[in-house]
Amino acid sequence: MTSNFLEIKGLHKRFGNIAALNNVSLNVSKGEVIFVIGPSGCGKSTLLRAVNWLTPPDKGEVWLEGELVGSSSSKLTIKQSQLLNGFRARMGMVFQQFNVWPHLNVLENVVRAQLVVAKRKRADAESTALKILDQVGLQNKIDEWPDHLSGGQKQRLAIARALAMDPTLMLLDEPTSALDPELIGEVLTVLKRLVNNGMTMLIVTHELGFASEFGDRLLFMDGGEVIEEGPPKKILTMPKTKRLKMFLEKLDVTSFKKEEKL
């Protein structure tokens, strides 16, 4: 299985007594869209953050396109941490809380890492930024400050910032969870376009409808382990394990209750 685009091998991570990752392995092919679901604290965010070594796992390895991103068995040397920064640029990450940079305007949010990390010339960085901001529908906001954007606009800006680095893989950590319901659609539209463009993606989400429509594969995690894995429609309609059944029921119940309140 060396031809894999992204290989995650035996990741372990503990926070105190809680096992956030317990021997998680995953192979991802190029262009594959993988959704990760699971109850809060199941380790799904930790998995994403371990892939780009933002949360270094206690044990395990991550390989991207045949190159070692990180291994728990070797200490991080200066050379390796330099390489790691290169890998991170190729793995665009989007956070639940957007984490756009409030001291830079919209254009500069997308330009800065291109200058600093990719060492591009400002003119090139700006034209790339304008192109991508156009794709995410922020072309009219380039001089705006992040504090004046809506949540959906901030998240689209965060996606644009990551895309400007020409990533080969996108890691999205609950990209719509912090958004008001009416703002989720605009972010999903941008993500759908990424799917259609063949971007390889790892998405942690609670948007089951989105996952079943656009996912190639769905992982259900609980207690730091992958409990079920397979085509989203099959997994969501015919859960094999009790844990997944309970999780889906709970989600259904809460969404039902929400509707009732409305």
């Binding site: 956030a20 965010s45 330099q82 991170r88 640029a89 990450m93 809380q97 409030p102 600093v116 504090d147």
Partner: protein, 236 residues
């Protein structure tokens, strides 16, 4: 009764002392703020020696009286072959003392920037230093201006202590004039007014600077508070 003649006769002399105070304080701040930044970053360095030395420096200079530090610099350094004029000793002592406080202010400012900001910078491929320089420190600036101003005002006032090691700054000059005239009230009123004018100017300028940054970024309220939720997500 006030003797107005003293105001006229001794103003030039006091202004000379005032000018030296300004020069010393400006030099001390010019050294102290970079020192503070260096110490603040050093304190969070992953190299234990650097963080230990930075922390020790901060703790020593924060927790001993400034006048004792001045005496140590002035009387002890010559024993080790370092003979500096009182003015230079004054600048060094003020810079070290101020630097220790500046360091803690800057560190608090860095800590006040939401954790997600550093994470997003590292996740996009920036090194720790690039993230500091491009994402964290610029956001720290607007947070630390008010406490840095406070500390600067304190430093200006503390510079009066340099009169004890024969630096002819404003307070020393005041003491000399009072020795000649035996009119302490007139003299020290003038000295106090000059310190006040200097501090008021510094405070006003810093306030203008702070406002200009805030105006530029149009900060409303939410961008910082939103990331606290993310923090709990990240630590589970």
């Amino acid at each position: 009764m006030l003797e107005y003649q003293i105001f006229f006769d001794y103003t030039p002399m006091l202004l000379l002392g005032f000018w030296l105070t300004i020069k010393i304080v400006v030099c001390a701040i010019a050294l102290g703020i970079p020192l503070g930044l260096f110490l603040a970053l050093g304190r969070r360095s992953k190299f234990l020696i650097v963080s230990f030395l930075s922390t020790s420096f901060i703790e020593v200079f924060r927790n001993t009286p400034f006048i004792i530090q001045v005496f140590l610099f002035y009387y002890v350094l010559p024993f080790y072959g370092l003979k500096l004029s009182a003015e230079y000793v004054g600048v060094l002592a003020l810079a070290a003392f101020g630097g220790a406080y500046f360091a803690e202010i800057i560190r608090a400012g860095i800590d006040a920037v939401p954790k997600g900001q550093l994470e997003s910078a590292r996740a996009i491929g920036m090194t720790d230093w690039q993230a500091m320089r491009n994402v964290i420190l610029p956001q720290t600036l607007s947070i630390v201006i008010p406490p840095l101003t406070n500390q600067t005002l304190t430093l200006i006032k503390e510079s009066a202590i340099l009169s004890t090691i024969t630096v002819h700054e404003l307070t020393m000059t005041g003491l000399m004039v009072q020795g000649e005239t035996f009119r302490p009230f007139e003299v020290f009123i003038m000295v106090a007014l000059l310190y006040w004018a200097l501090n008021e100017t510094v405070a006003t300028l810093m306030r203008k600077f702070e406002q200009s940054i805030k105006k530029k970024r149009n900060p409303t309220s939410d961008s910082n508070s939103s990331s606290t939720v993310e923090k709990s997500e990240g630590t589970k």
